[in-house]
């Protein structure tokens, strides 16, 4: 990403990132910080939008844990984007359904709006080149194999 933006713009982006980092309140040990998707260049990223009140999300977590474990070495990074307005609700959920993948918090909904989330849960598959490959609306247990096949195909690139 950085190479495609001019020097002046790069400085601006870094400044914005710094300002936003400083502006954050909350326990530094818990704040998952900003979602900088740059870090994942060359990896296949699954961005999964979930919430504690979303029942199908409970079915998706064990599967996502399995995928992260199975394909992490091949470059798969699953990021769960929590949409709860009260993050403590997410904590309660995570106690019952622990996540073995990265969790970030988007209580303001900015990231969800950016990705035009129209269903809960939604997951976006982003290829190694940073381009969005696919979007899944909802999570169907019966489609787990299909979801996995798409990941395998995307990881091959």
């Amino acid at each position: 990403m950085m190479s495609s933006i001019g020097n002046g713009h790069r400085a601006f982006v870094i400044a914005v990132m710094l300002i936003l980092t400083l502006a954050m309140t909350g326990d530094p040990a818990r704040a998952d910080g900003m979602l900088n998707l740059n870090e994942y260049d060359g990896k296949v990223v699954v961005l999964d939008f979930w919430a504690s009140w979303c029942v199908p999300c409970r079915r998706s977590f064990p599967w996502m844990n399995e995928m992260q474990k199975k394909y992490g070495a091949d470059g798969l990074v699953i990021i769960g984007v929590n949409m709860d307005s009260d993050a403590s609700e997410a904590e309660v959920f995570l106690r019952d359904y622990p996540a073995e993948f990265k969790i970030v918090y988007d209580s303001s909904g900015d990231l969800a709006r950016q990705f035009d989330v129209i269903a809960m849960p939604s997951s976006y598959i982003i290829g190694r080149d940073g381009e969005q490959v696919a979007r899944h609306l909802g999570f169907k247990v019966k489609k787990q194999d299909e979801y996995e096949a798409l990941l395998v195909e995307t990881l091959k690139q």
């Binding site: 990403m1 998952d32 970030v104 696919a134």
Partner: protein, 447 residues
């Protein structure tokens, strides 16, 4: 082709180069960890709701004790099988439609085997009411594509003189990011009546003991219901629903046990009758009621549920009109008030009012020809009813829920002056007001 829930962006507009996405601040705001149970919808495979109900009407009228159970079996990917069972044990008496009178009145029982006498001044009741009713339903729900769902169900109930069989279907579709849901439902019922002693021919007299000459065989009644509805989420805290319903009934719509008194046009007193020699029978002239063989109803229903910081206000209104000229309005309000994290109090208020059917008659003038239809059934009369109730619910550590509710139902009728006949009826209780207690204890659990 791609499935609806897996979309690969085709246009440049959709193709977001994630790398070009502005870094987004996604910070956690720490709130105090709440002890609220994880959201209410636990993903149990089986969910069971059970209830014990006690219903009692003042004045030795109907008493009902029942047990009901609703079981939901959740299958993978939002498919649900629902099964319900209800067992009712009904005892007590119900007004038979004859007017009270200064003297005693004797009636032949529905079976025709015996007579019963009502003391002077009392509203005649049929005390031979003893019935056990079993009702079953089964319902299957499943998604149809991402935004639609389908429901299909069967229902059946049986009591000693009544059998019901029914089927229902429903289709729902979501719009506007699932903020709007449009639904359509269809229900069919085929009921069969086998009244004690046989269904009496409408408008024929109540006869002496052991005289069943005016009785007919089994009777049928078919009902079709159509419901169209739309629900809309207004904002984060408010959801509303509007339904239009249409109902059409066909067949034997009479109550086989209800009668109408024949009265003297001058006094308004029941016309006396002398039974055949050596036989018991009714003391006065009574005619079995007669209702039209068809009924069409239209209803409009609106509901709003509003969340206010933990409290929930549920208010609804229903308007009903039919071709028997009955109009009704129902206002129902519930307010749920949480107490701590695990329990709640919910007061309930309901107001109901209806106009009488165009063939509703408290009594019939014996000097005039009988009308085609006539019924003194208080349920077709003009009345206002109020329900006041309170419910208390609490949730255990394991997520199971108990609740108890107590309600008082009071129906107060009025008889229009033009339905009164003669000079003596003004001082009588021509409409049997109703006061009832409803007590229910419920337990819900899952595994």
């Amino acid at each position: 082709m791609y499935e609806t829930d897996k979309e690969i962006p085709m246009s440049r507009k959709n193709s977001k180069s994630v790398a070009a996405t502005l870094t987004t601040a996604t910070c956690a705001l720490l709130g105090t960890t709440s002890t609220t149970p994880v959201n209410a919808q636990e993903e149990d495979e089986w969910e069971l709701d059970t209830a014990l109900l006690y219903y009692n009407e003042d004045g030795n009228r109907v008493q009902d004790i029942s047990f009901k159970m609703l079981a939901n079996r959740n299958f993978v990917d939002d498919r649900v099988l629902s099964l319900s069972l209800g067992v009712d044990s009904l005892t007590g008496a119900t007004p038979i439609g004859a007017i009270p009178f200064a003297g005693p009145q004797t009636f032949t029982s529905p079976s025709g085997n015996q007579v019963r006498t009502t003391p002077p001044g009392e509203i005649p009741l049929d005390p031979s009411f003893l019935d056990t009713r079993v009702a079953l339903t089964a319902n299957w729900q499943q998604p149809l594509g991402r935004l639609s769902s389908f429901n299909a169900g069967l229902s059946a109930s049986s009591e000693y003189d009544y059998l019901h069989l029914g089927a229902n279907f429903k289709l729902s579709r979501d719009f506007n990011k699932r903020n709007t849901t449009v639904s359509m439902g269809l229900a069919f019922a085929a009921d069969e009546l086998d009244p004690v002693g046989g269904a009496p021919m409408p408008l024929t007299p109540m006869l002496d003991v052991d005289d069943l000459s005016n009785r007919m065989g089994n009777q049928n009644k078919d009902v079709m219901d159509v419901v169209l509805g739309v629900s809309q989420i207004i904002n984060q805290n408010l959801i509303m629903q509007f339904n239009y319903s249409f109902s059409s009934s066909d067949g034997y719509l009479n109550d086989p046990y209800k009668i109408v008194s024949l009265v003297d046009p001058v006094t308004g007193d029941p016309v006396p009758r002398i039974p055949s020699p050596g036989v018991d029978g009714p003391s006065h002239e009574y005619r079995f009621e007669s209702r039209p063989g068809e009924r069409t109803k239209h209803s409009l229903f609106g509901q709003a549920k509003y969340y206010m910081n933990g409290k929930v206000l549920d208010a609804s209104y229903r308007y009903m009109t039919d071709d028997w000229d009955i109009d009704s309005h129902t206002v129902d309000v519930r307010f749920r008030w949480p107490i701590g994290d695990r329990s709640y109090l919910e007061p309930h208020f309901r107001y109901y009012t209806q106009t009488h059917a165009n063939f509703y008659r408290t009594s019939l003038d014996s000097s005039l020809p009988l009308p085609s239809y006539a019924s003194a059934d208080y349920r077709l009369g003009e009345f206002d009813a109020i329900t006041l109730g309170l419910k208390y619910g609490w949730k255990t550590e394991s997520g199971n829920e108990w609740s108890a509710r107590l309600e008082a139902y009071s129906a107060d009728g009025s008889v229009p002056a033009n339905l009164l006949i003669g000079s003596n009826q003004g001082g009588l209780e021509m409409y049997p007001d109703l006061d009832a207690i409803i007590a229910q204890f419920s337990y819900s659990f899952g595994w």
